[in-house]
């Protein structure tokens, strides 16, 4: 009897897990399916008939594609900025001693936990009072994106540094490497995966941000803003195309990231 109970208990966890995973993946599947739909009206909520039209003409709405372009450009710049600043902070935290470490921890944690709407709104107030409301636009968006991605970069790089044997840098110094050489030859190669992961994270955060962006955007329209606005009057199938494309790219990226690992284990 208890064996049966055990079976249920064991597989209940599995069942629950699968259900939850399904829950997480469902919208993506729906997105994928409906990207092949020909919407019956302005909204792509009901299945009409199969059509590859949306995939063939992804930029049917030119506004959408220009918003995508804008989002990508912003994301690239913000990623570079956040990665550089965040990596520097992570190094300082993990390899050096300095005062006010606790205050720094809190300062870095808050942007991750603070409500986006507050950060955006207060930032806009700040911009109003300093550079005037007319200058809201591309650069204010970039500034905001770097601001909220920074902490995530720090966390990611810190984690990678923590996993690195600190003796290695001492060994390098012992073997005649100047601090610069140590950084270039030992530290950097070993931290690089963490820095790349952090950059990826910053990119993802930037490209998908809505709340802070809409507040600091002025007249610019990023892709999330386009989606949000279009929600009011029409949801073309192209939106599902873009969403599915993003998913496929992400999945491809994950698979690619595993490849070196797989090769390594095969070879060893």
């Amino acid at each position: 009897m208890s064996k049966a109970l055990d079976w249920i208990k064991r597989h209940m966890l599995l069942a629950v897990t699968l259900l939850i995973l399904l829950f997480l993946v469902a919208p993506n599947l729906v997105m994928l399916v409906f990207s092949f739909n020909q919407p019956p009206n302005k909204y792509n909520y009901i299945w009409n008939k199969f059509s590859t039209n949306a995939w063939q003409h992804p930029c049917a709405s030119s506004d959408m594609c220009s918003s995508i372009k804008l989002s990508v450009v912003i994301a690239v710049i913000a990623t570079i900025g956040a990665t550089i600043l965040g990596t520097m902070v992570a190094f300082a935290m993990m390899r050096h001693r300095f005062k006010a470490r606790s205050a720094l921890n809190v300062l870095l944690f808050l942007p991750m936990a603070a409500p986006e709407v507050t950060m955006g709104m207060t930032l806009v107030t700040f911009f109003y009072n300093t550079i005037g409301s007319g200058s809201l636009g591309f650069w204010t968006i970039v500034i905001a994106h770097i601001m909220f991605s920074l902490s995530y970069v720090v966390v990611t790089v810190k984690a990678r540094l923590a996993g690195m044997d600190p003796t290695l840098e001492k060994a390098a110094a012992d073997l005649y490497a100047t601090p610069l050489q140590t950084f270039r030859r030992v530290t950097l190669p070993l931290v690089l995966p963490g820095i790349l992961a952090a950059a990826l994270l910053a990119f993802a955060l930037s490209i998908d941000d809505y709340i802070i962006t809409v507040l600091t955007a002025g007249n610019e329209v990023t892709f999330p803003m386009y989606v949000y606005a279009s929600f009011q009057h029409s949801v073309p199938a192209q939106i599902d195309v873009i969403g599915s494309a993003m998913l496929l790219v992400t999945l491809a990226g994950i698979v690619f990231a595993q490849v070196p690992q797989i090769i390594r284990t095969r070879r060893a």
């Binding site: 997480l24 050096h96 808050l110 207060t122 902490s151 969403g243 998913l247």
Partner: protein, 308 residues
Amino acid sequence: MTAATEQLAPSAPAVEEHRAKRNLLPYFLLAPGVLWLVIFFLIPIITAVSASVQTGSLDEGFSLTWRWANYSDMFSTYNAEIVHSMIYSVACTVLCLALGYPLAYFIAFRGGRWKNLLMALVIAPAFTSFLIRTIAWETILADHGWVTRALVDTKVTDVMVNLGLLTNNHQLLNTPFSVVFGMVYNFLPFTVLPLYTSLEKIDPRLHEAGADLYGSGYKTWRYVTWPLSLPGVIAGTLLTFIPAVGDYINAYMLGSPNTQVIGQVIENEALRDQFGYPIASAMGVVLTAGTLLVVMLYVKKAGTEDLL
């Protein structure tokens, strides 16, 4: 000095104390990042405090009138929205924990070789525009979609109406239910990730020891796993609840005018209402102060090193 060593060099200089060298490098490394956050995060939040007691309009400009009534106005005017925000985010956090814990547990302890892949499956959807995914829920939960029809036919919706989750028994959308549903969907990865990190660090041999001591799986979990996973639980809760309070995308897309939350109010007041700035600032201040309070409580208990 011990008796056995007589090795003093005859011409030894006086052994003076070396001063510890002051290393300025960390400060140079920290400066840009810290300055960025101070200027674009900290100062704005502080200015919001002053903005919250101002009056005026976008046309005429705002002046510091110390109108503390902004705060009481906020509570009286937007009482409903504040309540909504609290209820939805608490519900969302609890549900995320209830769903996220088993998920994280399963991946951490039963995942084996598939651990990384499964976690990727949890995180990956989050990398594709969450707006679009939320719209996708519109499709799934649509009024005449099969999900809704199935629940109506099985009378489940009647039960849900009685529980206050739905407003009528044939609509899943535009209800508190759909809002919380969407929130749980969007915030689940935020809960799962810290939970998984914490659980993954637990030595599986502790489970064996627990099974040895307690016998039952539940007791082992309750007395061994749960306490050890607590830091992850708290981190996950913080990272879910706090953003959830300010979130309004789900309320906007999946809700109705009756499910408005603070976030929407702030955006409205700030962007669309001429006179709204001070009151929007007041709400922002309250939100942030609340966040800070919660974080400080956590820090008092657990210190700051675990924050990041």
